[in-house]
């Protein structure tokens, strides 16, 4: 059992290398190109594993698209042209930051809408609570009045009061 574990590990290490082998390391001659490449692949969603960007994903398609983006950057295409290329093929869904459109306004403004609803609800709840506090305060007024009444009664007629 003790030897089996390292052996399995070695097995996985040896055979997993084939997974990465077709993903060539990207080399840029131009620093600006490299910077653009990095920020682009982090902005584009991999459609195979939808919660990963192209930079994170190991899927075959992600490798192909990274290569495609690399080629376009090297051939001096602008970021807009590259994004347009991808959107024409895969739709706005490839963008982690979709453009503001009729069908995305809920996506963009939904959080503010919900924050507003929350604020509204909070105001109502606070107001209601303040009202009940006032009722309690009014009750206290009643009690105070009774107290002064009691204090103002003649001590002589009071049977159980303290005397100096």
């Amino acid at each position: 059992m003790k030897t089996l574990f390292p052996l399995t590990l070695i097995f996985f290490v040896v055979f997993s290398s084939s997974v990465y082998s077709n993903d060539e390391p990207v080399v840029f001659k131009n620093k600006n190109h490299e910077h653009r490449y990095q920020s682009l692949i982090e902005e584009i969603r991999c459609l195979v594993c939808q919660n990963q960007s192209l930079a994170d994903s190991d899927a075959d398609l992600a490798q192909d698209l990274r290569k495609e983006i690399y080629d376009m950057i090297v051939s001096e295409k602008s970021d807009e042209q590259i994004i347009q290329f991808l959107v024409e093929r895969y739709g706005d869904f490839v963008l982690y930051r979709p453009p503001l459109k009729e069908n995305t306004w809920l996506l963009w403004f939904g959080p503010f809408l919900f924050a507003f609803i929350g604020l509204f609800a909070a105001i109502i709840i606070i107001k209601r609570q303040a009202k009940t506090n006032n009722i309690e305060a009014e009750m206290d007024e009643d009690k105070k009045q009774r107290l002064t009444e009691l204090l103002n009664t003649d001590p002589e007629t009071d049977s159980g009061g303290d005397k100096k």
Binding site: L47, L61, D64, L65, Y90, G91, D92
Partner: protein
């Protein structure tokens, strides 16, 4: 009364939203290519590398373009449906786009499981498939007589989808004049 009805109403609302959400497959990404001209291609055929197939070869008739590969497990599930469709409807123009495959593997696949395709385009690098926005084989495009993509099916087609969606659409498009 509202104290009890409000949480109940919110709960029912959430349930409705969840049911709505469950009925939608997040993997189904609407294709921007619908009602747009099919991307042009000029690829060697799978059977003979020296002969090329072009998009123009598909024009003038309604055709189905099925993206598949021998390494694709879901394609294996779909394959008998395609075989059944072409044997039942011999007029169905089914073309294949073989996606990032090895030629001998793909040919062996067809030999073993049968070949429902009129012709297969061999997209070894996958670059034409990128033009078609393919992200998960199998995918099937319905292309009309003028070469416009009318429908895209992502994932394996089942019998019901074939009979209720794809074949009626093909029939409808066939009745149209260019």
């Amino acid at each position: 009364m509202i104290r009890y009805l409000l949480p109940l109403g919110l709960f029912v609302g959430l349930v409705i939203i969840f049911i709505y959400g469950l009925q939608h497959d997040p993997r189904h990404v609407p294709s921007p290519l619908i009602d747009k001209p099919a991307p042009a291609f000029n690829l060697p055929t799978l059977h003979s590398p020296e002969i090329n197939i072009h998009l123009e070869d598909l024009k003038g008739k309604v055709s189905l373009l099925n993206v598949w590969a021998s390494w694709c497990v879901a394609c294996r599930t779909e394959h008998p449906i395609l075989i059944g469709a072409t044997s039942k409807y011999p007029n169905l123009n089914l073309y294949g786009l073989n996606y990032k495959d090895k030629r001998e593997d793909a040919l062996q696949w067809l030999q073993q499981l049968g070949n429902p395709y009129i012709e297969n385009a061999f997209d070894e690098s996958g670059s034409i498939s990128i033009d078609y926005g393919v992200y998960g084989a199998p995918e099937t495009f319905v292309i009309d007589k003028a070469g416009i993509i009318r429908y895209k099916h992502i994932g394996p087609i089942n019998k019901q989808q074939l009979e209720t969606i794809i074949l009626p659409l093909v029939k409808e498009l066939e009745s149209q004049q260019i």
